[in-house]
């Protein structure tokens, strides 16, 4: 159907996934607080949240396949770009919730609040993806961030969790100040906050030059912080390490995705006309991020922290797509984000399992001989690591290749070379986990009898993610087409939409 907003019900339809999740989140919250604490593991709250996500996914699917919008300048986009991203968020949130189920139970976290915060954060992400207005993006970002700040510090018995929460909060708020300042300057320069209006203003030259570029720079900084690009990444390792592991997975996957999606829409749609100016900055940020992220990951002794640095590096790869700014790169980014979400959460699922649903056993030595004790889990982890490393046969390779293709299309050869060379660096630390798992013996004093209980839910996530990764690694056609098709409406309508917004 066509959304023309003739009826206000159309607004409801346009925001259907968000609404579903919001309402469901409140329901989960109520369900959580209405049951007495300490009675049972509270897993059903989690499953309830998952049901909401499923419902949202369905609603999202209906929008994706069945709905188009009239014009494309509305504050909330109903384009496939947003909806594809929504799926990624739902997937990320869903996977995170599944791996949280045993964790939350074991750690006796407050299930209702926990799951509803995840859902609310997901709503914030969805708004970031949907917004064509910088202010909505900001609000979505804050909604997401506040949820995640709380999630990072959720485990009140754990100092590290509290520390992570504090650091994330202080620095996140600090960075959102920059983002906001950027929005203000851009608003002053172009007279609007709608990305299409911004684009139109830039295109017709009415934008005030003096305010424009500092605004763009600050905006870039704000997003760079959220995607953890060097040198705005400093919070990432600490927060990822300190936060409860399922939350880390959620952050690494979904939060980053949301930031990238918004980043992409603002810069590729709104600021497309200034590509020449900002691409240089992002080029350097991307290069530095790839190098620093990978290089520092080399020296990490904690798997969780290593994965944190690796996620920084992945952010660097994704920035390449932003610099390339062509359709191949953009769909590559979408594809990459999807794959990245799956494989990152999969990897963290193993980390959670090795840690016995706690924050224990995070040192790489703890993985010694793990593969032989838990062969299935070991193989899964190996596949996930290979995928993270971008090895052929896995979806990670296809995704990285897609980015390279985009970079090549824009003749970013140096960046492409940096990308592949840093990938080599990344092989080392990903393989290091593999070699501990398969080539070393268990550490002294480890309980070799039954080191890790793998709950059904975690297995579910692992099986699904590994299957998807292998399938998409070998037969990526459908997923690639989906990603490529999801660009529809992002920029194709941008020109006319800009014209429409101009009046």
């Amino acid at each position: 159907m066509l959304l023309d907003y003739s009826s206000s019900f159309h607004y409801v339809l346009a925001l259907l996934p968000e609404l579903v999740l919001t309402i469901w989140g409140m329901g989960v919250l109520l369900a959580g607080v209405s049951r007495k604490q300490g009675h049972g593991p509270g897993q059903e709250t989690g499953w309830l949240a998952l049901a909401g996500l499923a419902l949202a996914a369905v609603a999202n699917g209906w929008l994706y396949f069945g709905v188009s919008e009239d014009g494309a300048a509305a504050m909330i986009a109903v384009d496939r770009f947003r909806l594809f991203a929504n799926w990624v968020f739902i997937l990320g949130a869903g996977f995170s919730i599944v791996i949280s189920l045993p964790y939350v139970a074991r750690q006796r976290l407050q299930a209702g609040e926990y799951y509803s915060l995840i859902l609310f954060a997901a709503v914030g992400m969805m708004f970031m993806a949907a917004a064509r207005d910088l202010m909505i993006i900001f609000l979505g970002l804050e909604l997401m961030s506040i949820g995640v700040y709380a999630l990072a510090g959720f485990n009140r018995r754990d100092r590290r969790s509290a520390e992570a929460g504090l650091k994330y909060f202080l620095l996140g708020a600090f960075a959102s100040g920059f983002l906001l300042f950027g929005i203000a300057l851009l608003y002053g320069a172009t007279g609007g906050t709608n990305v299409h209006a911004v684009a139109a203003s830039i295109a017709d030259g009415s934008a005030a030059g003096a305010l424009l570029m500092p605004g763009v720079a600050l905006l870039a900084i704000g997003f760079a912080f959220k995607v953890a690009a060097v040198p705005f990444h400093m919070w990432t390792p600490d927060v990822y390490e300190g936060a409860p592991t399922p939350v880390t997975a959620f952050m690494a996957a979904a939060v980053k995705t949301a930031a990238f999606v918004a980043f992409l829409r603002v810069f590729l749609v709104g600021l497309e006309g200034l590509h020449a100016e900002w691409s240089t900055i992002l080029w350097w940020i991307s290069a530095v991020t790839m190098v620093a992220g990978n290089v520092v990951a080399l020296v990490q002794s904690s798997v969780k922290r290593m994965l944190a640095y690796s996620s920084i590096a992945h952010g660097g790869y994704l920035l390449v797509a932003l610099v390339a700014a062509n359709d191949t790169a953009t769909s590559g980014m979408l594809f990459y984000l999807l794959v990245y979400t799956i494989m990152t959460i999969g990897a963290f699922a193993v980390v959670v399992t090795v840690g016995n649903q706690s924050e224990a056993n995070a040192r790489i030595e703890d993985y010694g001989g793990f593969g032989w004790r838990k062969p299935v889990l070991g193989v899964f982890m190996t596949v996930l690591l290979l995928s993270l490393a971008g090895f052929p046969g896995t979806a990670g390779f296809i995704a990285k290749y897609h980015l390279l293709l985009g970079a090549a299309e824009s003749s970013l050869w140096v960046l492409a070379v940096i990308l592949v060379l840093t990938t080599v660096v990344s092989y080392w630390y990903y393989l290091r986990v593999a070699w501990y798992m398969w080539m070393k013996e268990a550490p002294e004093g480890a309980d070799s009898a039954d080191p890790a209980i793998t709950p059904f839910a975690t297995h579910l996530v692992l099986v699904v993610s590994v299957a998807v990764i292998l399938l998409a690694g070998v037969f990526p056609g459908a997923a690639l087409d989906l990603a490529a098709g999801s660009l529809e409406g992002l920029r194709g309508l941008a020109a006319e939409a800009g014209a429409a917004a101009g009046h």
Binding site: F391, L405, A434, W435, M439, P476
Partner: protein, 502 residues
């Protein structure tokens, strides 16, 4: 009868074997794996007859769309160059699996599964006619090898495995960027072989791309000075790993030279500076590696370095850009695969018996194990290129081909023949000859039936190729000729500078 299905079968049957191994018990794993690999080998033998040399182009071609969005196809084909590589692969895989029965005693299921997986990757690499597909298989071989070395290897296995992996990855990833460049330059939106051959690149572009490809393949070969991963990997790898590594994986590099490097970048390939550099590296490899090999106390390391020397002959043969040189290179590839594979198997047998690889720990084995000694001597002689063995035919042709265009290079390279004796004979002497002065060597068991079954075919092949190589030469000639013509045609219309120089 033999349709294109055979090629698909050769790739996917090992994978089926992998699965079969994984679901069978640890005790049966080796037999299951061996049967699968033997079956694949027998199946591949048909290619010997099924492949008609003809005009040297691809035969048994089949192509299906794989990743439509990028123009990636699942395209397979075989020609006079790859047919031997495939046969070598299936053959050595079966032999290596048979050769690991005693050596590998732990975690057998995983081991044999990885071996079959490796076979699949290598066969796929040799059969792929789509560049993307080729790249995928090229990389795919790293993982099983990484684990084979890292899990079943010696003391410093992890260092060796990682070194092997990273070294190779550096080259291959840079090649990936180069592949993308050609992909866009060709403008056909296809990763097909023909599209890449006809990409129409300017000389300047070709030189850069050549460098990237040459680096990737040069590491794999390995060409001096990119070789230092090889001794480590060989020393630490378990016997079957070494065998596959030497026999097959190194060939991926030289095969890449023939299949991709020369046809894709003919102008660069015959650029005098490029030729000079490659020949120089080849010659240095021959002599340098021979020298270094000669002073190794570890027998396996010694043989590893000889691989570098042998592959140096391939390099000079290829970059001499003569028919004889290329043919010689091909024969050296095959011969090295057989003889060095056999040497590693023999060293593995030594290790199984004595748990040491130091040459100095042996001596007088010839008395204790005459069959072993006989096989060892024949293999060593084939390795140093004695006429009548496979090694001679290859080295002779490679040197002759080089001599036709680069006399001095060939003259220097020919001294490698001396140094081959310089490294190999002392080892033979110190292992097999000399006094049987260590009591533990007195009980050195002679070859068992299984070991004879492993070495017998290898020795027979060494002698067969040495005495009657014509069936090999005539099958590969048209394809090699086609590669050569591609390079020479480019010379003919050297004026063209299509493609974007941007």
């Amino acid at each position: 009868m033999y349709g294109d299905w055979i090629l698909h079968a050769l790739i996917w049957l090992p994978l089926a074997g992998t699965v079969h191994v994984l679901v069978s018990s640890a005790e049966r794993a080796k037999n299951v794996a061996f049967r699968w690999s033997a079956f694949v080998f027998v199946l591949s033998l048909g290619l010997w007859w099924a492949y008609e040399p003809g005009d040297g182009g691809f035969a048994l071609e089949s192509s299906a769309s794989w990743i439509e969005a990028w123009g990636v196809g699942y395209s397979l084909g075989i020609d006079g160059i790859s047919v031997f590589m495939v046969l070598l692969t299936t053959f050595t895989s079966a032999i290596a699996i048979l050769g690991s029965f005693e050596y590998v005693r732990t975690r057998r299921k995983a081991f044999y599964a990885l071996m079959l997986l490796l076979e699949m990757g290598v066969v796929g690499f040799f059969l792929a006619t789509d560049i993307f597909l080729f790249y995928v298989f090229f990389e795919l071989t790293l993982v099983p090898m990484y684990f084979i070395v890292g899990i079943w290897g010696g003391e410093r296995r992890i260092y060796a495995a990682v070194k092997f992996f990273l070294y190779t990855a550096v080259g291959s990833l840079l090649m990936l960027v180069a592949i993308l460049y050609v992909y866009f330059a060709s403008g056909t939106g296809s990763f097909g072989y023909d599209a890449f051959v006809n990409a129409g690149l300017s000389l300047r572009e070709q030189l850069w791309l050549f460098a990237a490809f040459a680096l990737a393949f040069g590491i794999k070969v390995p060409v001096f000075p990119l070789h230092t991963w090889l001794p480590d990997a060989h020393v630490e790898a378990p016997t079957p790993g070494s065998v596959i590594l030497a026999s097959v994986l190194l060939k991926m590099g030289t095969y890449g030279f023939l299949r991709f490097l020369l046809p894709f970048f003919p102008d660069a390939a015959r650029h005098p500076v490029v030729v000079a550099v490659m020949l120089a590296l080849g010659v240095i490899g021959i002599i340098y590696a021979a020298w270094v090999a000669a002073v190794q106390p570890d027998a396996k390391k010694l043989v590893a370095y000889t691989s570098v020397a042998h592959m140096g002959f391939v390099v000079i043969g290829v970059f001499a850009l003569t028919l004889n040189g290329l043919q010689g290179g091909m024969v050296v590839m095959i011969s090295h695969g057989i003889s060095t594979g056999a040497l590693f198997l023999l060293l593995g047998m030594m290790y199984e018996r004595r748990h040491t690889r130091l040459i100095g720990d042996f001596g007088g084995i010839g008395r204790a194990a005459p069959w072993f000694a006989t096989a060892f001597v024949i293999t060593a002689l084939a390795s140093i290129g004695l006429p009548g063995t496979s090694g001679f035919v290859g080295e002779f042709l490679a040197l002759l081909g080089t001599f036709e265009t680069h006399m001095v290079v060939a003259a220097i390279a020919a001294t490698g023949v001396i140094f081959a004796a310089y490294y190999m004979l002392p080892m033979v002497q110190r292992v097999l000859f000399n006094e049987l002065d260590r009591p533990e060597n007195r009980t050195f068991a002679d070859l068992s039936r299984r070991e004879m079954a492993i070495l017998g075919p290898l020795v027979a092949l060494m002698i067969w190729i040495g005495v009657h190589p014509t069936p090999f030469l005539e099958r590969m000639e048209p394809s090699v000729q086609a590669v050569l013509e591609r390079v020479e045609d480019a010379r003919a219309d050297a004026g063209h500078t299509l493609g974007g120089e941007d």
